[in-house]
């Protein structure tokens, strides 16, 4: 039973929201390579959504476009989710390894990514009056991904439904903690840099004067 190739596992996991990830866990399947490709596609989807969207649906921010926010919104966000979930669930008797959390979470993002590409494509065909079709597709994509993500976390850690909810909430909280620490760290580095540069200015000034 279930002799599937890695690429077939992707299809199986995405099309079976309840049991797909359980099966994957049981067969110890899932490929980190595919997960990396998915995250990269996630990144490209975000960029495409921002800059390749049909002009009739709004002005692209060509003049101020920067790739950094989209990198943060995709790759960094995903990394924070993975690390946060791993950190929380290790304490909460979760069975998932960091590798598996990464793979399962990436697989569950697929409907969302597909939805983004489909909508970017449709935005060049539809006009504003028909935007509702795109909204329906978006809702389906987001909902499907949410269900998959829930199922992925549940099966990767072998949790009950209630515990999964708690784990997700705590993961989000941990992501905020990470953000907070990052801000603290950046301001600290800034202050140190300020100090060093002031000292350096002072020294060079003394040399020049003296």
């Amino acid at each position: 039973m279930m002799d599937l190739k890695q690429s077939e596992w992707v299809k199986h996991a995405v099309t079976h929201p309840i049991e797909g990830f359980e099966d994957m866990r049981w067969k110890k399947s899932g490929s980190l390579k595919i997960a990396v490709v998915i995250v990269l596609l996630f990144f490209f989807a975000q960029v495409a959504h921002a800059s390749l969207y049909g002009f009739q649906f709004g002005q692209p921010h060509d003049k101020t476009f920067s790739i950094v926010p989209y990198f943060v919104k995709s790759v960094v966000l995903f990394a924070a989710w993975t690390i946060g979930n791993w950190a929380v669930c290790t304490l909460l008797d979760g069975e998932g390894t960091a590798r598996n959390i990464c793979i399962y979470s990436a697989y569950s993002l697929i409907p969302y990514i597909v939805q983004t590409y489909v909508n970017v494509f449709l935005s060049h065909i539809l006009v504003r009056d028909e935007e509702v079709f795109m909204q329906v597709i978006e809702i389906i994509g987001v909902g499907w991904s949410a269900v998959l993500l829930f199922s992925a976390i549940r099966s990767v850690h072998q949790y009950s439904a209630g515990k999964t909810c708690m784990a997700i909430v705590m993961t989000i909280a941990s992501m905020f903690v990470m953000l907070f620490l990052l801000v603290l760290f950046i301001s600290l580095v800034q202050q140190i840099w300020m100090f060093v540069s002031t000292v350096w200015t002072e020294i060079t000034y003394r040399f020049r004067v003296g």
Binding site: M1, F55, Q56, F57, G58, Q59, I125, V127, R128, D129
Partner: protein, 504 residues
């Protein structure tokens, strides 16, 4: 310190490049007046709200002083007005007189410094601040500020009526210092009063006080909202001792048909700086997300403060354009009747084309007049060829003649390819004509997704109509191919299951 210089340098280079290419492209085509001479660089705002170089819509023509007009030097003049009889009336405040000069501003026609009261006695002005001459009854309305009265007189200096501080319960201010006056079609008189924030005082044609008209709203800043919440829990006694939040008063106004346009020179307030009021006192611009004046406040290194625009005077030209005079930058911002920025003219400078203390603005024909109360001169700005083209196109466009406006808009684009309104105009006209492809192109340049949306809808419908057979056939072909493929794969899978190993 370094960066702004570099930026300014960049803009200079860009303008130079634009001017060079412009000169090459159409130097021989049209006799475009060389816009050299003004002590500033013309700019406009793009759809992002950033300043970009642009062609000048008006260029300074000359500056006129009292001596040149043969009336003796002005002293702190505060208002100018172009009357229907073709004369310009200058309110020479500190000389306590009103000077009427001819249309071309070459000589003085008459100096009004004393008036004859109905009883036969003579009266003089004391620091007059504003004047209005009604096109309906040709009467002069003078805001005689220090005498605390409004004088209504005819052209031969015979006073018809004198309006003093109203003896009314509604009017409880200790002073009555008229700054500007107006009269509407029915003869009602409106006066902007100093230190009054409840709007313009309104008088009946007989001079009876009716009430206030067109007060500004208080801008809901965080501080004001916080104070309001705090006051909810205070006793009546305590509340009465606290400072009240009052709106800023009206600084100046102008009338056009049935509408009165007001402006406020408060540089801290961003709401209600310019209003268009109907007869009921309702602001028609209230729902418009338009801002007036510069987008970025001006930094003054001497006082180390930022100065937001302060619109001190407003004037509606004959074709409906709104001229707003900004005291902070000394610039005239001209808007069309829909509040789209057309041109920015002038600056703060001592050369021709600049003003020190902008006091009043007036327009007549193709000229804009800016009164400077420090230099005691009137600067005349003349419309350029580019300005005329924009005005013509804007007028046609705003009246709904999109297709007729197409040629004028092309003319504008020949002068300034960056002019956003022109791209919108061309896109709208082409859309109306059914040239969807062209409309899409210009809508994209103009950054207007709304027009692009409509143009694209038309383009798509045309495309489908044209290639219907091809689209239908390829769709049909794709569906059948998918069906055949699906059946084939199913068969193969069945085959595999049958022939494959029984166990994993």
């Amino acid at each position: 310190m370094y960066k702004p210089e570099k930026e300014a340098d960049d803009t200079k280079k860009r303008i130079l490049a634009a001017m060079c290419s412009f000169a090459v492209v159409c130097g021989s085509v049209s006799a475009f007046p060389a816009n050299a001479g003004e002590p500033y660089e013309s700019y406009n705002y793009d759809s992002w709200g950033e300043a970009i170089p642009s062609q000048a819509g008006y260029i300074p023509d000359r500056a006129v002083s009292g001596q040149e007009l043969g009336a003796g030097g002005f002293d702190s003049p505060s208002d100018i007005f172009f009357a229907g009889d073709g004369l310009m009336y200058i309110v020479d405040t500190k000389n306590d007189r009103i000077v009427a000069v001819d249309e071309d501003m070459t000589h003085t026609v008459r100096i009004y410094d004393s008036f004859i009261m109905p009883g036969g006695t003579e009266t003089t002005l004391d620091k007059p601040k504003g004047i209005y001459i009604s096109p309906y009854n040709s009467l002069m309305y003078i805001a005689d500020s220090e005498n605390e009265r409004i004088l209504v007189s005819d052209k031969s200096a015979k006073v018809i009526m004198e309006i003093k501080a109203p003896d009314d319960d509604m009017y409880n201010a200790p002073t009555f210092k008229p700054q500007r006056v107006l009269a509407d079609k029915a003869g009602n008189i409106y006066a902007v009063l100093g230190n009054i924030t409840t709007g313009a005082a309104m008088f009946s044609p007989e001079g009876r006080f009716i009430g206030f008209y067109g007060a500004n709203r208080v801008q809901p800043t965080a501080e004001i909202i916080g104070n309001y919440l705090r006051e909810l829990f205070m006793s009546e006694n305590k509340r009465s001792r606290r400072s009240r939040s009052v709106p800023t008063g009206i600084t100046s106004f102008d009338i056009e048909g049935d509408f009165i346009f007001t402006c406020t020179s408060s540089s801290t307030q961003r709401t209600d700086t310019v209003k268009k009021l109907n007869a009921a006192g309702k602001n028609i611009f209230a729902d418009l997300s338009a801002t007036f004046g510069d987008n970025v406040p001006i930094y003054d290194p001497i006082q180390n403060t930022l100065f937001a625009p302060a619109i001190v005077d407003i004037d509606i030209s004959e074709d409906g354009c709104i001229n707003c005079l900004d005291l902070t930058s000394g610039r005239v911002f001209q808007y069309d009747e829909e509040c789209n920025l057309l041109f920015i003219t002038g600056t703060k400078a001592n050369q021709l084309g600049g003003v020190n203390t902008a006091a009043a603005v007036e327009s007549h024909g193709d000229k804009i007049y800016v009164l400077d109360s420090t230099k005691d001169t009137i600067t005349v700005f003349k419309e350029t060829v580019f300005g005329a083209a924009v005005h013509k196109a804007t007028k046609l466009y705003n009246d709904g003649y999109y297709e007729e406006a197409l040629e004028p808009w092309y003319e504008v684009l020949r002068h300034d390819g960056n002019y956003r309104r022109a791209n919108i105009g061309v896109a709208s006209a082409l859309l109306r004509k059914g040239d969807y492809k062209g409309a899409m192109k210009y809508a994209r340049i103009a950054d207007s997704p709304e027009i692009y949306n409509k143009a694209f809808e038309g383009y798509r419908a045309e495309f489908i109509k044209k290639h219907f057979t091809a689209i239908f056939l390829s769709f049909f072909g794709a569906v059948t191919a998918l069906l055949i493929l699906g059946r084939y794969r199913k068969k193969r899978r069945k085959h595999k299951k049958k022939g494959g190993t029984a166990f994993r």
